[in-house]
């Protein structure tokens, strides 16, 4: 019988405890993985954003809208720097009167240029024709279309907290997105339909929410952003430009406090993990004091005893880690696609990455190692005579 088989045999003598410990470690690893998935998905918002797009908005507040002529001015100023397309849009805040708790992004966009800048939107050539010819045309994301229960050719009426009245749209296309940088849950319609509405007060006419420009060289986005803002510096409304990536990253910065809490929570999990494992190991060592005395009397060295204890802890940690990962993969696999569908703008991904799975498993092993340090040290330091004399 080798030392390892002896260590493995030890696991089977208190099955309830080992099973419970593995369960406990598994649940802790599961919770840890879930937090990692959320934090990672959130911070990926910046990563998936298009690198080759710059957004430009009013400098002091996003509530202020810009004059329409800024679109042409921006193009004139930035074209020499490698800006190929410029488009503009506005936030509509649309709601479905049949279900006003459903939240989605609704944007009024310039129909002539929007699809050039956001070329990850894919629609059929016929839909493109309808989009060009019908002022009430709307492009509805695949996921949103499901929730609004509309298909191509349907009519739909939306209301808006900003623009009073009923707004009727014709669904020109249910679009798909070929990249994560644009979600499939938005409602997009033509800005001219909004602007030509007779009820719109004069002060709101020819106003746009923000501009988007497409670059040929993403590496120049910082330089071009600066140039754009400089071009508008002497106007009554100054602008703030940044790459889509920086914009998303700054959004993540606004929820930094929440991320911090999640990180603290994952630290708490590690503590719980250590406590469960440490408790089990310490109890096991205590109960086997007599046996360890016998082993020492037979000629095993203190380091052998240490090895028994550490090997057992590592083995339990590994089992628990594997169990937790299996749970996490099952759970995330089950809810992940739904999360991406419903909250695509916030969570472009909801999945476990191999590195984070490795970290989760590694932490379970590490907890096993650390929690066995003190008990194994104590066990190895026992005086043989005292150990044999002691009663469990």
């Amino acid at each position: 019988m080798t030392i390892l088989t002896l260590a493995a045999r030890n696991l089977t003598r208190n099955k309830t405890r080992v099973v419970l410990t593995v369960l406990g470690v598994g649940v802790a690893v599961l919770a840890f993985m879930l937090i990692r998935v959320v934090v990672w998905a959130w911070s990926m918002g910046g990563e998936v954003a298009a690198k080759d797009r710059i957004g430009t908005r009013d400098k002091i507040t996003f509530v202020n809208r810009l004059p329409l002529r800024y679109a042409q001015d921006l193009k004139d100023a930035a074209a020499p720097l490698g800006v190929t397309h410029v488009t503009y849009m506005d936030w509509f805040g649309g709601k479905d009167p049949r279900n006003d708790s459903l939240f989605f992004g609704a944007f009024a966009v310039d129909h002539a240029t929007f699809l050039d800048v956001y070329n990850e939107l894919s629609i059929s050539p016929e839909a493109r024709e309808r989009w060009k010819s019908d002022p009430q045309a709307a492009l509805v994301g695949k996921n949103l279309a499901k929730k609004l229960q509309v298909k191509e050719g349907d009519k739909i009426t939306l209301i808006s907290p900003i623009y009073p009245g009923d707004w009727e749209f014709h669904v020109a296309a249910v679009y798909r997105s070929t990249a994560k940088s644009f979600d499939e849950s938005s409602f997009i319609f033509r800005w001219d339909y909004l602007n030509n509405n007779k009820a719109l007060p004069a002060s709101q006419k020819d106003r746009i929410g923000w501009l988007a420009a497409k670059l040929t060289d993403p590496g120049r986005s910082a330089e071009i952003s600066k140039a754009i803002d400089k071009a508008f510096d002497d106007r009554d409304q100054q602008t703030l430009s940044m790459s889509e990536r920086d914009l998303n990253t700054s959004f993540v910065g606004m929820v930094a406090a929440v991320l911090q809490i999640l990180n603290i929570a994952s630290f708490v999990i590690l503590l719980i993990l250590g406590l469960i494992l440490g408790n089990t190991i310490a109890m096991g060592v205590r109960e086997r004091t007599y046996e360890h005395g016998v082993l020492r009397a037979l000629g095993f060295m203190p380091r052998h005893i240490t090895m028994f204890v550490v090997a057992e802890a590592l083995f339990i940690g590994a089992l628990g880690g594997a169990f937790g990962l299996a749970l996490a993969y099952a759970l995330v696999g089950a809810i992940g696609p739904r999360v991406v569908e419903d909250f695509g703008a916030m969570f472009p991904f909801f999945e476990i990455t191999p590195p984070s799975a490795l970290v989760g498993f590694g932490l379970a092993l590490l907890a096993g190692l650390i929690s066995s340090l003190i008990p194994s040290y104590r066990a190895s330091r026992l005086e043989v005579v005292n150990a044999l004399r002691r009663i469990g």
Partner: protein, 392 residues
């Protein structure tokens, strides 16, 4: 019944194992208490912002002040109706038309848009201090009407560049606001706002001829329904009235609910781990004390008494953990937690607010964990045959 001192002593004999489980429970209680305290804090902050005797009038369909806009010409009939609206001693109506905007601001210690967030600016008329008589200047003085002086809520100092008592910041290019006072608003969301002169905000943010919302102090809270009918009967005005407290309550629902939901998911997952930890400890107690259990049975204690005794022991251990957890969580009441208000995109500072419900909930939670974690070990103990048990 088996005397409780027996349980206390048993717990004390195996200190390490007891402490490990106890700390595990304590950590879970910290997590659940924190989420309860934060959702309390959110609810209180937003609720104290609203009063039952104050009505807020916005454009029909708007869900937040910022998205609303009312022509100034339309407000006078509403504000000065003596049938509903209270007056001060000199006969002026207690009503204010305000403009609410959010402004980008650099976080304290950063410049140039490295780390930005949004801060709310409220343009207020001179009589706002009479209408909101519960808001008090605690440092400096009230801003001079008609100037670019501002007062800031007491949650703001230290958070944004230039938004400090005695300092200044740019409202827009070349228009500098001077901070001359700090006000206390009883912990409400107003404390995260900047209050500036309504005309200053109007000019700086291009809001000529409009206000975001109108607030009026009603003669009594019971006048609200009649007032609402009065405001909304004239469809051409396109206005709606809400009680101020229910307006803020609606904003709370989403956020406090989210914090609670996230908190309970974590608390549930963590509690599984902690209960397993408790079960491991209790199983070990049962196994090690089977001889004692046999003796107790032989002395005439019933199976039920044994079951109860071990359950009591588990509950005692977990309850102590609960107390420790509450003690660890309570000091968080001093921590400020900035979070984005989803309805306005501006940061509001919340506090962790302990309540009797937090403490009772935490202790009940710990007790339940003790019962669940201890039940199966106690069950096993009660099933031990006295003869077998004493023979081991």
């Amino acid at each position: 019944m088996v005397p409780i001192t027996y349980n206390v002593r048993s717990l004390l004999v195996r200190k390490i194992s007891t402490i490990a489980s106890l700390v595990g429970i304590a950590l879970v209680v910290v997590v659940s208490s924190c989420s309860s305290m934060l959702s309390n804090g959110i609810a209180r902050t937003l609720k104290t912002s609203g009063r039952a005797d104050t009505a807020i009038i916005m454009r029909m369909g708007s869900d937040a002040e910022m998205a609303s806009g009312i022509d100034v010409s339309r407000i006078s009939t509403v504000v000065s109706n003596p049938n509903f609206v209270a007056q001060d001693k000199s006969g002026n109506s207690l009503g204010v038309g305000e403009i609410v905007v959010v402004k980008t601001a650099d976080r304290a210690g950063t410049t140039g848009g490295v780390s930005v967030s949004n801060v709310s600016i409220r343009g207020v008329p001179a009589n706002v201090w009479d209408v909101r008589d519960d808001v008090k200047i605690v440092r400096g003085r009230k801003p001079q009407p008609g100037t670019d002086e501002v007062a800031i809520g007491k949650a703001l100092p230290g958070r944004f560049q230039g938004v400090e008592f005695g300092a200044n910041f740019e409202l827009k290019k070349n228009r500098v606001a001077q901070v001359v006072g700090v006000f206390d608003a009883g912990g409400s969301a107003f404390e995260s706002e900047i209050w500036a002169d309504v005309d200053t905000v109007r000019q700086a943010f291009g809001r000529q001829g409009v206000v975001s919302s109108v607030r009026v102090r009603l003669l009594s809270p019971s006048k609200f329904e009649a007032f609402k009918t009065f405001v909304e009967s004239d469809k051409t005005l396109g206005l709606m009235a809400q009680r101020e407290d229910s307006y803020y309550e609606k904003q709370t629902e989403g956020m406090a609910g989210m914090v609670k939901a996230i908190g309970w998911v974590f608390a549930f997952l963590f509690s599984l781990g902690a209960m397993i930890g408790a079960a491991i400890t209790m199983y070990a107690q049962v196994a090690n004390r089977s001889k004692e259990v046999g003796t107790l049975r032989a002395l005439g204690f019933s199976r039920f008494a044994i079951l109860l005794s071990f359950l009591v022991e588990s509950v005692m251990m977990c309850f102590a953990g609960g107390v420790l957890g509450v003690l660890l969580a309570l000091p968080l009441g001093l921590v400020e937690f900035p979070m984005m208000n989803m309805a306005t995109w501006a940061e509001v500072v919340f506090r962790f607010e302990p309540s009797a419900g937090t403490i009772i909930g935490a202790l009940v939670f710990a007790t339940v964990m003790g019962i669940v974690g201890g039940f199966f070990p106690a069950w096993r103990a009660s099933k031990l045959s006295p003869v077998e048990a004493m023979r081991t």
